[in-house]
C-alpha cells in the first residue's frame, strides 16, 4: 500500500471517562484508519492522561488540514494539547558540538547505520575540531567561534542558519556554550542536551570532578530538553555505570563518554520517532 501515510497523534489532557473511545472512534469512523499502535498513560496524582496513536490511512491523499479541523472539536471538548506528526517526513537536524567529538561521532555512525529517520543537515561548532568528521560524513560544517562579546551576533547567525535549513531539532552533542533564553525560546522542546551527570546531582560545570570528589559509586549521564534554567529541563533518558576506587578521574571520564553516547542517542531516536511527550517538566516516553 504505497499510498498509505503513517501518522502519529500525540495527546495530553485531563483524564476523563470516554476519552479513549472518543479518540479511537474518531479515527476509525471518520478516517477509516488502521491503528498500528495505541499507547496510553495516566498520571494518577495530577489526573492527567497521555496518548500516542500510530495509524496508517488508506486514503491516497491524507488531508492534514481537514483532519485538524475535524479533530479540533473533540480536542476542545476534552481540553487536549495535541499534535499530529508524520513518520515519512524526515526531520532536519542540526548538531552543535565543541571539542569533545565522541557524541557527534556516535550520532553520525548511528545515522549511517540507519538508526535515525532524519536528515542531518549541518554541524555547528565554536571550534574547528569536528570539521574532518563532518566532512567525512558529507555534512556541511559551520565554524562559528564564540566570545562573550560576540555571543549575541553569533546566536543570530546560528538562528539564521537554522531557519534557512528548516531545522526541526537541535542536538547539543557536548556543545560547551550556554544558549541564551531567547535562543531556547525559539526552539521549545526541540533542543536536546546531554549533561555528564545523573541529574539532579552535579549540575553545572565539571560534574565528573564533583562526582569523583563526592566518592559516588556510580556515575551517570542525562539527556534532557533545554529550558531557560540550566540543567533543569525535562529529563528524557539517564543511565549509570559502576565505578570503583580503581577509576581515577581519567578512567571515570572515559566510562562517562560511553554513558553520554547512550543516553543522547536514545533521546534523539525517541524524539525523532515522536515518542516523547512533556508535561510538568517531565517526559512520558512511549517506547
Amino acid at each position: 500500500m504505497p499510498s498509505a501515510k503513517t501518522a502519529i497523534l500525540l495527546i495530553d489532557c485531563p483524564d476523563r471517562k470516554g476519552l479513549v473511545a472518543a479518540i479511537i472512534n474518531f479515527l476509525v469512523e471518520r478516517y477509516d484508519v488502521n491503528i498500528l499502535n495505541a499507547d496510553q498513560h495516566q498520571d494518577v496524582e495530577l489526573g492527567l492522561f497521555f496518548m500516542r496513536v500510530e495509524f496508517a490511512t488508506d486514503a491516497p491523499n491524507f488531508d492534514e488540514p481537514a483532519f485538524r479541523a475535524a479533530f479540533e472539536p473533540i480536542a476542545r471538548e476534552f481540553r487536549m494539547n495535541w499534535r499530529i506528526e508524520f513518520a515519512d517526513a524526515p526531520q532536519n537536524v542540526a548538531l552543535f558540538v565543541s571539542q569533545y567529538l565522541h557524541c557527534l561521532a556516535d550520532l553520525l555512525l548511528r545515522h549511517q547505520a540507519g538508526e535515525f529517520r532524519a536528515n542531518l543537515a549541518l554541524v555547528v561548532s565554536n571550534h574547528e575540531d569536528a570539521r574532518p568528521l563532518a566532512e567525512f560524513h558529507g555534512i556541511p560544517f559551520h565554524y562559528l567561534p564564540v566570545t562573550p562579546a560576540t555571543k549575541p551576533e553569533v546566536e543570530a547567525a546560528q538562528l539564521a542558519l537554522l531557519a534557512e535549513n528548516k531545522i526541526d531539532l537541535i542536538i547539543l552533542a557536548r556543545y560547551m556554550q550556554v544558549l541564551s533564553p531567547s535562543f531556547v525560546d525559539a526552539y521549545p522542546r526541540r533542543i536536546i542536551n546531554v549533561h555528564h551527570s545523573f541529574l539532579p546531582a552535579f549540575t553545572g560545570a565539571r560534574p565528573y570532578h564533583a562526582a569523583f570528589a563526592r566518592g559516588v559509586k556510580l556515575i551517570g549521564a542525562t539527556s534532557h530538553y533545554v529550558t531557560e534554567v540550566l540543567d533543569e529541563g525535562p529529563i528524557i533518558e539517564q543511565d549509570v555505570a559502576r565505578i570503583s576506587q580503581n577509576d581515577q578521574l581519567p578512567s571515570l571520564i572515559q566510562k562517562g563518554r560511553d554513558l553520554e553516547r547512550m543516553v543522547l542517542s536514545r533521546a534523539v531516536q525517541w524524539h525523532l520517532d515522536h515518542r516523547v511527550l512533556t508535561y510538568a517538566n517531565k517526559t512520558v516516553i512511549f517506547a
Copy 2:
C-alpha cells in the same frame, strides 16, 4: 464508586485491521465502561496481535456470563484467544519449596508488605525446613516427603490439596523435584518456576557450578512457566549480576540468591496482575 468492578481483558489473535476499534467500541458502547488502560503489542514476524484492556464498569452488578456471551461473536470473527479476569478476586496461591528458603522468605515478606494481590493458601514441601517460617506467617504447612517410589502418590496428594484449596497459581520457590507431565498438564501456564541460570544457558542441575566452570562474567536467573520439557517453558523474567574472579562458588551462589528472588517475585506479581500473555513459547509482559 464502590460498586465498580475492575476487569482485565486479555486477547491474542491474528493482526487485522479494525481490531482495536472493534474491541474498544464493544466495551464502550455495549458496556459503558471506563477504560483505565489499554495496552497492545504486535509480533510483526508472526502477524499476531496482543491486547490487554483494564476497565471499570459503573454497573453495580457486572454480569460476567452476559459479557462473555456478548463478546463471543467478536472473538470468533477475529479468531481470538481471550480471557477476562477480575482485579478484586484474589487468587489462591500454593508455594512449593525444598530446603533453600530465600525465595519463600522473600515472597512472604513481599506479601506482608502488600505487593501481591493474592491469598497465600499453603506451603508444600518435601522437607521440614520451611515449617517455622510458614507458621510465623500463619500459612498452613504441608510436609510431603518424596522418594522415586512414592512420587506418584505424593503428586496425587498434592493435587488433592491444590484442588481442595482452589489453587490458581503454584510457585516453585526452589522446589527441587521435577513435576510429572500429568501434574504440569493440570495447571497449564499456572506453575511458575525459578531456574538459577540465564536460560537457555546452563539448563539442568547445578547451573552455578557450570557457570563457574565456564568462566562467565555475569550470572543470571530466570523465572518461567513450567512446561513438560524441563527449563524450556516460556520465560517471564530474567536478570543478571556481574561477578569477577573474586567470586568463588560460595559468593557466586550468594549473589545468585538475590537474582532468584528478584526474577521470581517480578514474575509472580505480573502473573497475579494478569499482565502476562503467552504465545509461541514466549511471553508478552504488559508491565
Copy 3:
C-alpha cells in the same frame, strides 16, 4: 591448622617508594605469616596509598600486643593510619529500625543464610512493629519510643544498651530518627545508614517523592557511614533501578525497597569483612 589465626591489616598513608616491600617483609620475616590476600590502591591525585593484607599465622598464639609494638615503628616511618582486625572475632551488631521492616527482615534472613560473620545482638526501635520479627529470629528487642523532649534520655539509654552489649556496628535499617552529633561521635565509621536516593541527589526527607516530581528515569539508594552532617557521610554502596512513567509513587517506592535492601546488605557485609577504608569522606572497598 586449627591454631592459625586469620588477621586483616588495613593501612592508609602517603604513597612512597618501598611501602609494599616494607609491609610484606615485616609480615613474612618477623611473623612468618602466610599472605592470603594483598590488595592495594592509590589515590593518584591526593598521593595516598591504601592496603589491605589478609594473612594467617602458624603461631599457635598470635600475640596481638607484640605485633602492634613491632609494627609501630614502620607505621610511624611511613605515617600510616592502620588497624588490625581478626576474622574469627564475630562483631556485635545492633539493628535500629522504625516501621518499615523490609531492610531488617532482609538482614535477618541473610544472617540466617550465613552471609554475615556477626552476632546480631539486639534490635532497637521507636515502634513495636519489629518485635515479632526480632523474636522469631531470637534476637532481643528493645522498644524505646522517642519524642523531641525525650530524645536525650532515650539516646542515653540506647548508648547504655550498646555499651552493655559491646556493640561494634550499628545498622540503621530505615531508622527514621536523626542521631545527635554526640551519639554519632561515639561510633565513628561504625554506624551504617541506608538513604533511599542516589546521593547526593535528593538528600533529606521524602526522596522518592522528590525523585518522582523531578521526573528522573532511574531511582537509587545509598548506604553510607553516618557523620554529623545528614546524608553527607562516606558512601559505601549505591545502586539504581530503571523506572518509567508506569511507575507512579507506590510502585516506585516498591522498587526502591529492593534497592535499599541490596545496598545496605552489601555495605554491612563489606564492613563486617573489614573491606572498607575511609578517607577524605570517601570509601575504598577492597571487594
Copy 4:
C-alpha cells in the same frame, strides 16, 4: 624520571606459602623497583595463584635478559607460568572486519580519543565496505576476499601481512569468517573475537534470531579469545541489555550493536594493558 621503565609481571602457579614474599623481595632487593600496583587472586578450588605486579625501575637501562635470567630460578621453584611486559611498548594491532562496521568504527574512535596504548597497524577485510573508514583514520586497508576454495591461500597472505607488521594482537571486529586451527595456533591468546550473544547461550550463527525465537528478556554479547573450538574460548567480558516485546528483531539487533562495542572495547583495553591472564579456559581480569 624519564629513564624509568614501567614493567608488568604476570604470574600463575600453584598456590603456596611464601609466594608473595618471594616475588616482592626479588623485585625490591634485586632490582630496587618501585611497586606501583600488586594485585593477586587465588582459585581456591584449583589451588592456583595469580599475580600481576606493575613496577617502575630507577635503572636507566633496565636489562630485560638479565631480569629474566635472575627470575628464572624463582619461577622454577614455584612452578610459575610467567611473562614480563612493558607499558611503553605499544603493541601492533590488526583489525579484521567484514561488512558490519560498528565495532571497527568504535575502536577507531576510542583509539583517536587515546583509550588504547596501541599502534593500529592495519585493517583486513573480505569486503570493501570498511575501506573509507580505515582510510579516514589513516590506517592501511587490505582487501582480501575469501571463498571456501581460496581460504588457505588467503590465510597464508593474512599471516604474511601479520608477520610483516609484527602484529601482537588480532581483533575480530565482526569478521564473519571462521579461522582455521593453524591460523589460531599462530596467535594463541592473541586473537579477540566478539560474539553477539551471552555465551554459552546461542553459539553459532544468527544468535540474535535464536534469542528472539527463545523469548529471552535480556540479550548479550561476549568478547573472548579465539581457540580452535568456535565460541568456546576463554571469556574476557560480557554484558547484557534488557529487551521487551516491543523489540522486534531490528531493534534487538540495534541494541546488540551497542553491547558488542562495549564488550569488545573493554576486552581490547584490558588485553593491551596486560590485565588478562588465562587458565583453565577462563580469564582473570586484573582491572
